[in-house]
């Protein structure tokens, strides 16, 4: 993985400390680093240039605040500028004065329109609306069947309609007919929103883009959402522009954000269309969907980690009472046993691979270097450690002092590891136990600091 932007800036500004202001000369290197980092995050080159110009204007002549190093200051300017580019206008929805409100989904093949249509219906249902779904994708095999299954799984209404292939190929007339019928059906069954899922198409496909324009004319939708894959590279501007020029989209949805793409395409799309990113798709399940928040993408680009996601996962997967019990016990005079340790390992494993956890940590501050170290992590290590503890008797786990040479040999054999690995684990356990005890003994001061550090991390969240 590449060095993160924050690290690069730290490096290029090492020499700068002590100089009072950011000047034309000392800023150029930094700006180039920023531009490269933006492009590496999939921000379109032209869009990156625009952003850089704005950053230069803001940074030039600005007094280096004593509290911040020049690097930190630049990072702050970049961060503010990226957030400004993405905008803070989130998922505001336009509703039609006369129901049904129609939402038209548009985008390239495979961007996630069908899944997103279902998620949107679910989200609206939770908000007390009565959405109806319809798929006018008469082209892709089993596309309409896919939406039917999705609708069923969330208990949303769907208009299926009928298609006859008698007079040859299905085409735009069928698409328009289905859309019209669905609108009537929505009105008749008192659904106040109609979500229209369309076939994926390329921005340069003249015939299918014309079809999209006809659909728009027919339905007069309140929202036209451009659905784009977070992994999209430089081409994001081309397709966003093609769809926007033709349809005047009202916003976009960035899908597959549960991956590790930096999501720079969001900046490109926002900049080129002038319309806000409204939602993020964060998984395959119907509720993996949330209103857009610029922080998340900006942090990824700057390499500040994705603490928000990490905390969310922790929230969802970890058993808080267990974590708390462990902390209390470890910090008390008693220390913690290998049995407690095993429980902790299991909890950590629930968060995902070590690699993925480390990659979500901020690359500056106390976790510096963790993202880089992530690539050399031995994922199997955790499993081996657990196997070693599994191979101990409960008595041994609760009182590691009794584990003598012959016991060590037996444990190693049971776990399929070398005796030296058992020795290492015991040594580490003893050290950690002692460390926690001293922290506990520090009259709560240390505990307070730990807690406040955790609190500080929380701030990155929302």
């Amino acid at each position: 993985m590449f060095e993160t932007l924050s690290e690069k800036l730290q490096r290029s500004f090492k020499t700068l400390r002590g100089q009072g202001t950011l000047t034309d000369e000392n800023i150029n290197d930094a700006l180039r680093e920023i531009r490269v980092a933006l492009i590496e995050s999939d921000v379109n080159l032209d869009v990156a240039k625009d952003i850089i110009d704005k950053i230069r204007d803001k940074a030039l002549g600005s007094q280096v605040a004593t509290a911040l190093s020049p690097a930190e200051q630049i990072v702050k300017i970049v961060r503010d500028e990226l957030i400004a580019t993405l905008g803070t206008d989130t998922a505001k929805f336009k509703f039609a004065s006369q129901p049904p409100t129609i939402i038209l989904m548009a985008g390239l093949q495979g961007s996630g329109k069908t899944t997103t249509s279902g998620k949107l219906a679910q989200w609206l249902k939770k908000g007390g609306h009565r959405p109806m779904l319809v798929s006018v994708d008469v082209y892709r095999p089993a596309a309409r069947e896919q939406l039917r299954v999705v609708a069923q799984s969330i208990g949303a209404k769907i208009y299926e309609g009928e298609l006859t292939t008698e007079n040859g190929q299905l085409g735009t007339p069928d698409v328009l007919r289905l859309a019209k019928e669905a609108r009537r059906e929505a009105t008749n069954s008192a659904c106040n929103i109609l979500i229209v899922d369309t076939a994926g198409r390329l921005g340069i496909d003249e015939a299918l883009m014309a079809e999209m324009a006809e659909l728009k004319k027919l339905l007069n939708p309140s929202e036209i959402l451009f659905v784009a894959d977070a992994m999209t590279g430089q081409d994001a501007v081309n397709s966003a522009k093609a769809f926007n020029d033709r349809l005047a989209i009202t916003g976009s949805v960035l899908t597959k954000m549960d991956g590790d793409a930096r999501g720079g395409a969001a900046l490109s799309i926002r900049q080129i269309t002038g319309q806000p990113v409204k939602f993020l798709g964060t998984g395959e399940k119907p509720d993996a969907f949330e209103p857009f928040h610029p922080d998340r993408i900006v942090s990824r680009i700057l390499g500040m980690g994705d603490i928000a996601t990490l905390l969310e996962r922790a929230e969802e997967k970890l058993d808080k009472s267990k974590a708390h019990a462990f902390a209390t016990k470890a910090l008390s005079g008693d220390g913690f046993s290998l049995e407690d340790f095993r429980e902790q390992l299991r909890q950590i494993k629930k968060l995902g691979s070590m690699q993925s956890i480390m990659k979500m940590l901020p690359s500056v501050g106390p976790f510096a270097g963790m993202q880089q170290a992530a690539n050399s992590v031995d994922e199997k290590q955790l499993g081996r450690t657990e196997a070693i503890i599994n191979s101990m008797t409960m008595k041994e786990r609760l009182n590691s002092a009794i584990i003598n040479g012959s016991r060590r040999k037996r444990i190693a054999l049971g776990a399929g590891v070398q005796v030296s690995e058992v020795n290492n684990l015991l040594k580490q356990h003893a050290q950690m136990s002692k460390m926690f005890k001293t922290m506990g003994a520090g009259g709560g001061k240390m505990q307070q600091r730990l807690m406040s550090q955790l609190g500080g991390m929380q701030k990155f969240g929302r």
């Binding site: 492009i39 093949q109 095999p141 340069i204 590279g233």
Partner: protein
């Protein structure tokens, strides 16, 4: 592609011939046409940078560097190319933009050609080919197109629907199986993909089918449990047919940016990818990320997807690809 070893072996069943699409132009022409279609020439495209270059100096190489980055080919690959061009400029000079362009072309071609390697076909059928990739990349469509293509070449083919997760994934593949006149082995949605694979492997063995194509569910490479599932499928295949899967093709969408490298890296670790299929080259994206994948991971591109019809798949041709990236 030569599967001559077991290509035309007689099989118990003789399926109807697949639809015969018109094959008017040479494959390389199609590749070239596909990748050069209606392309917006951005002010920062490699071609315009090169065209504007009279003298090759630091400034023009800086511009070229940005243009390369903007083709999705990644920073490490870009750095390497720029460094070698800069060396060359210092040592013996680069006279003008035209020379710069041909040097650049040669360098890109060298990277793509250096990873070309012959496919190791098994000595006896079936050859098992597994399609993997992130959600929506084009795995199912590619499975269908390849089924038809192999049949046209005279092989017997079987499809396996191992995406039991996504809604209507099986129905989607069924349509492709019908279109290409190939049998589909499937279970019900929500079933165990390894079980579907097991059935398909057993069927392919019993019928001594030439090629078994396995369509898997889309998954993000960051989901470790889903990557483990792929590993389990591999082991299932290997147990029943030593050496299987013989090819594991990672399907990548041409619009993919820098994340493609990470996809290729992790899918290769978990699923032993042997080659890439680059889809949606009929759009405005050029698919530059495959250069980075070749350079950093040594993976060759086997096929290019150029549309949604049965015949829209062609063997990947590095030369026309490089032309499209630069011109």
């Amino acid at each position: 592609m030569a599967f001559s070893i077991f290509g035309k072996r007689n099989t118990p069943e003789t399926p109807e011939p697949a639809e015969q699409p018109e094959q008017p132009r040479g494959l390389f022409d199609r590749m070239k046409q596909a990748v050069t279609r209606t392309r917006e020439s951005l002010s920062n495209s490699i071609s315009s940078v090169v065209a504007l270059t009279r003298e090759v100096d630091d400034a023009s190489l800086d511009d070229l560097e940005l243009a390369l980055l903007a083709s999705d080919i990644g920073s490490a690959t870009t750095q390497q190319i720029i460094t070698s061009l800069r060396d060359r400029a210092l040592r013996q000079g680069i006279s003008d933009g035209a020379e710069l362009k041909s040097l650049l072309k040669a360098e890109l071609l060298r990277i793509l050609n250096s990873v070309e390697m012959p496919i190791k076909h098994p000595s006896a059928p079936p050859e098992v080919i597994m399609m993997v990739g992130v959600n929506g990349a084009g795995k199912t469509t590619t499975s269908g197109k390849l089924a038809a293509q192999y049949r046209r070449e005279g092989h017997t083919v079987l499809l396996c629907a191992a995406d039991t997760f996504r809604a209507a994934a099986i129905e989607q593949l069924q349509v492709w199986a019908d279109r290409s006149g190939v049998d589909l082995i499937k279970t019900k949605q929500g079933g165990d993909p390894s079980a579907a694979l097991y059935d398909a492997l057993a069927a392919a063995k019993a019928r001594s089918t030439g090629i078994l194509l396995v369509d898997t569910a889309g998954r993000l490479h960051t989901k470790s449990d889903l990557m483990k599932e792929l590993d389990k499928m591999r082991r299932t295949a290997e147990k029943l047919i030593p050496g299987a899967p013989h090819q594991t093709l990672l399907v990548i969408d041409a619009t993919t940016g820098q994340n493609g490298l990470q996809q290729a890296r992790i899918f290769t670790e978990a699923a032993h990818v042997t080659g890439i299929v680059l889809t949606k080259l009929d759009g405005s994206a050029k698919g530059g990320i495959v250069v980075a994948i070749a350079h950093e991971l040594g993976l060759p591109v086997r096929y290019a997807g150029v549309g949604e019809k049965l015949e829209d798949i062609i063997p990947f041709d590095p030369a026309s690809f490089v032309d499209s990236l630069i011109d």
